[in-house]
């Protein structure tokens, strides 16, 4: 070894060998470098040539965002253009829960900047439970300019909170129209599924609200409009950088109703403290002129989601303001059923108008005594008198003579027991009793004894005020029956095109004009000299009507009903059906006053005010329902 180190030649050779080894290694490394760069090239080629289209699509999808532009919802006005549902633009303070760790703490913090009431908090909590967390939900609506400025200054403290301008629905008439106009509310999961099933969920992109009840719901497709689309370029944070294209939304159509806001108000006030319902129809078209269910509620509470306290209050109120009495409430028609019974008797040939019966104060059937309302009876009674004084015995006998199935078949023509097809949903069918109905319902055969009380509108009979109104309108219109409709026409806000809800005669009843004349004459008699005479004293027009009283609790046989002894909620319901003017009816109505006692006393005066207002333009002087009442029971 020592030899090698001192021999310069060997050292040189050794060094050359070493350089050679090094260069081999360097060459290998260079090949490695080239291979790796080839790998990079292959990757670039794959991404930029082979997969180019795919990544271009992804880049475009990144860049372009389709933003829906929500159309303005159509407004709803009455026949004279009074606003019933309108929109207003306001600023809301909104929170996106997903972006916030502790929402409660954030709201506490926010309340130091902007006033947040306990009601706002409750409502927001409810909204949070009902919606998906990525949605932005309003904590405060209708911010004042001052509040906006204040929040803007503190904005940096609240990521995930923002101010948005939104259109809000407003119901200026509040509870006056709550049961007919209805209201909108936030779209829930069930409604979303329905929209998807109909294949129109795309039109609801960006829309938070949908009609829940009333016209808002049944005319939803007209009111909503067509959602516009804006293509915007967005950055990674989702901010819109510029608009690429835009197709404007089409506003929803306006609804112009047959209803008269003035009339509604007159009626609502006329009810005083009583609960009840009134439906007034133009008999020649079926147009609904007034539609009241009292008490109503403030539909504005529902627009942004109702808070639990108000909800509980509405839902648990003994007055049940959420129930649409006119549409879904069913009541025994009481004596208002009698004119229809009389018409049945004439049509089926069971009675002649002049045929007289003797009323001993009741009717005995199978050992059961059916009491007449008037102790001792009405004496000799023909058909005219039976209606005018509302003689029960006459109709006990008549019902017995007709038999339940004849009654049912005849009454079915007037729409009793079936939905009228009015243009809002939630209608009850009512009960038109028949032997088939009883078999279907109770699996029992019909007993002849059960027919007797059907004759005076008691028993299983149960109808909605709307059905009664349609039935009396049909008599007023000489048997030509129209489908009741609340909307007069739908107006396209852009073209001003009007789509009129055509008055369609549903059917013409097979009635003899002379039979109708008998009944109509008797109905005029009621208001002239009978149970309605006191309420309609001194009218410049001639009106026709029939009072009725519906029992709330059954009275034991032989026991006399004494109003003062009965609990308020168990008192009888007062009913009245009427039309006027008698010769050329412009308006037919049915009115029901819950727990008010006799129809003549509580219900007829309300009808009087309706006619006075509608036919004479007379504002009623404030007077209690008791005044002008007849002493006699119907």
């Amino acid at each position: 070894m020592s030899e090698l180190t001192i021999n310069p030649g060997v050292e040189l050779r050794n060094s050359r060998l070493e350089i050679h080894h090094f260069r081999v290694r360097l060459a290998i490394a260079s090949i490695f470098v080239l291979c790796m760069f080839m790998l990079l090239f292959a990757r670039f080629f794959y991404l930029q040539v082979v997969q180019h289209d795919y990544y271009t699509t992804l880049a475009e999808a990144n860049r372009i965002s389709i933003v829906p532009i929500v159309p303005n919802r159509g407004i709803i006005v009455d026949r004279n253009g009074v606003l019933l549902a309108s929109n207003y633009s306001a600023y809301t303070l909104e929170i996106t829960p997903r972006k916030i760790a502790d929402v409660e703490a954030l709201i506490d913090d926010l309340s130091t900047v902007v006033e947040i009431t306990p009601r706002d908090r409750r409502r927001f909590r409810k909204l949070m439970d009902e919606s998906k967390s990525f949605e932005s939900l309003p904590i405060r609506t209708r911010l004042s300019d001052e509040e906006i400025a204040k929040f803007a200054a503190h904005r940096y403290r609240f990521p995930g909170v923002e101010i948005n301008a939104r259109l809000f629905r407003q119901y200026p008439q509040a509870e006056l129209f709550s049961h007919v106009v209805g209201h909108i509310g936030r779209i829930n999961t069930h409604e979303l599924e329905q929209l998807e099933a109909k294949g129109i969920e795309a039109n609801y992109r960006g829309t938070d609200y949908i009609g829940k009840v009333g016209l808002e719901q049944s005319y939803e497709t007209h009111l909503h409009g067509t959602t516009g689309v804006e293509e915007v370029e967005v950055d990674a944070a989702g901010r819109a950088v510029r608009t690429l294209s835009r197709s404007a939304p089409t506003s929803g159509n306006n609804l112009v109703l047959n209803l008269d806001a003035g009339l509604q108000e007159v009626i609502y006030r006329a009810f005083g403290d009583f609960r009840g319902a009134l439906v007034a129809i133009d008999p020649t078209t079926g147009g609904v002129l007034a539609f009241i269910s009292k008490p109503g509620f403030d539909p504005n509470l529902f627009v942004d989601g109702i808070d639990p306290v108000n909800w509980k209050e509405l839902n648990e109120s003994i007055d049940r303001p959420m129930v649409n009495r006119a549409l879904a409430g069913t009541y025994p028609p009481g004596s208002t059923f009698k004119p229809f019974m009389a018409l049945a008797a004439l049509t089926l040939g069971k009675r002649r108008p002049e045929q007289v019966i003797s009323d001993p104060g009741g009717f005995n059937f199978g050992g059961h005594f059916f009491r007449d309302d008037k102790v001792g009876g009405h004496g000799m009674v023909d058909m005219y008198k039976s209606i005018v004084v509302s003689c029960d015995t006459y109709y006990y006998m008549l019902a017995n003579d007709l038999g339940i199935d004849n009654i049912a078949n005849f009454m079915a023509q007037f729409g009793f027991g079936s939905r009228t097809g009015i243009d809002i949903t939630g209608e009850s069918r009512g009960i038109l009793p028949s032997s088939k109905w009883k078999m279907d319902r109770y699996k029992q055969k019909w007993y002849a004894g059960e027919t007797i009380s059907v004759g005076i509108g008691q028993g299983y009979n149960s109808y909605t005020p709307l059905q009664l109104a349609q039935a009396i309108a049909t008599i007023a219109n000489d048997g030509v029956m129209f489908r009741p409709h609340i909307v007069n026409y739908v107006e396209d806000i852009v073209t001003r095109n009007r789509t009129v809800v055509e008055p369609q005669p549903e059917r013409t009843l097979q009635l003899q004009p002379e039979h109708l004349a008998v009944v109509k004459k008797a109905l005029v008699g009621v208001n002239k000299e009978g149970t309605g005479a006191r309420a309609f004293a001194g009218t410049p027009y001639i009106s026709a009507g029939k009072t009725g009283t519906a029992q709330v609790v059954a009275i034991k046989q032989g026991e006399k009903y004494v109003e003062s002894r009965v609990q308020e909620r168990h008192r009888d319901h007062a009913l009245f059906i009427a039309y006027a003017p008698a010769d050329k009816p412009k308006l037919a109505l049915a009115v029901l006053v819950e727990n008010a006692g006799f129809g003549a006393r509580a219900a007829a005066p309300i009808a009087r005010k309706v006619f006075d207002y509608y036919l004479l333009g007379k504002q009623p002087t404030p007077l209690k329902p008791d005044e002008g009442a007849a002493g006699a029971r119907d």
Binding site: I19, R23, L26, Q48, N62, V234
Partner: protein, 366 residues
Amino acid sequence: MPVIRRLTRLLTAHLDTQLLIVLVLLMGVGLATIFSGSNQSVPRISSQVANIMVALGVMYVFANVPPHYLRRIALPLYVCGVLLLVCVALFGEIVNGARRWLYVGVTRIQPSELMKIAVPLMLAWYFDRYEATLKLKNYIIAALLLIVPIGLIVRQPDLGTALLISAAGAYVLFLAGLSWRIIIGLGIAAAACLPFVWGMMHDYQRQRILTLIDPTQDPLGTGYHTIQSTIAVGSGGLVGKGWLQGTQTHLDFIPERTTDFIFAVFSEEWGLFGNVMLLVLFLLVIGRGVVITANAPTLFTRLFGGAITLTFFTYAFVNMGMVSGILPVVGVPLPLVSYGGTSLVTICLGLGILMSIETHKKLVQS
């Protein structure tokens, strides 16, 4: 005139023209891309121009320092670096969850950056010193010299830097003639250790590797960078969207647009043609480095030059691989292109040393 010419020649005697042209071209590409990636920010550009000036100054200085001076400082520099790493482990500042910085009087320094030069320099010095009698023992000692700083850097944790330094060290060992049997043996051993290494890794490091395999499993978290940069590269197509026209870039979809992910910006705006051009420029730098290394006069300069060249390659490859989605996301800038003074100075320092090796070889031989 001759005086001026002679003076010029004297001043530029130690600069390698070929290398200088390519690196200036790469810096130009960098400036153009930073301009686009920063949404045309002039302050960014002037700041990078200043960085470039400093880096070129450092390069000039090191090109004029003869390699044997470097040999002399190899051991002290290494020892100093390891001591600083120990200090970091003991008193370092935590930034973004990692203990990488050391506060010295007025400023913070990152000793691991220093080790990028110090480790290959130390190993080159070590092999050069025991050149005549290289035995297995020497390789083991060399491996230890490598493992100590790497271990400290991994603990910080800074996996990216650790890998780069490992690579630099491994290149020296490889070029120094480590026997193939050992290389293969180590390869097998490393493969066997993988599960163990996996167990030692931090969660975020594991996540990066998992994300590489399937970026879509966490598209808004760790996969986001990779997904968006891959989209940028892919949507660039053959010729790109044009300078300043990249949608991924200008709508903020690409993160770190002027630093680690600058290649995504370039690739989106210049397409495959631009990428090939960039690969060629990098290959020219590496090729020149290989030539200089092959002709270097001493084992020290050969090993150190080789390590510098291959480290440069590693930077470029890892960065482009990461942006195009074939390597995990590690914080490695694209050499000479990415914005940032530190990496620019480090790279130019290395290239200056390469120039020095080339221009001082005649002096050594004579």
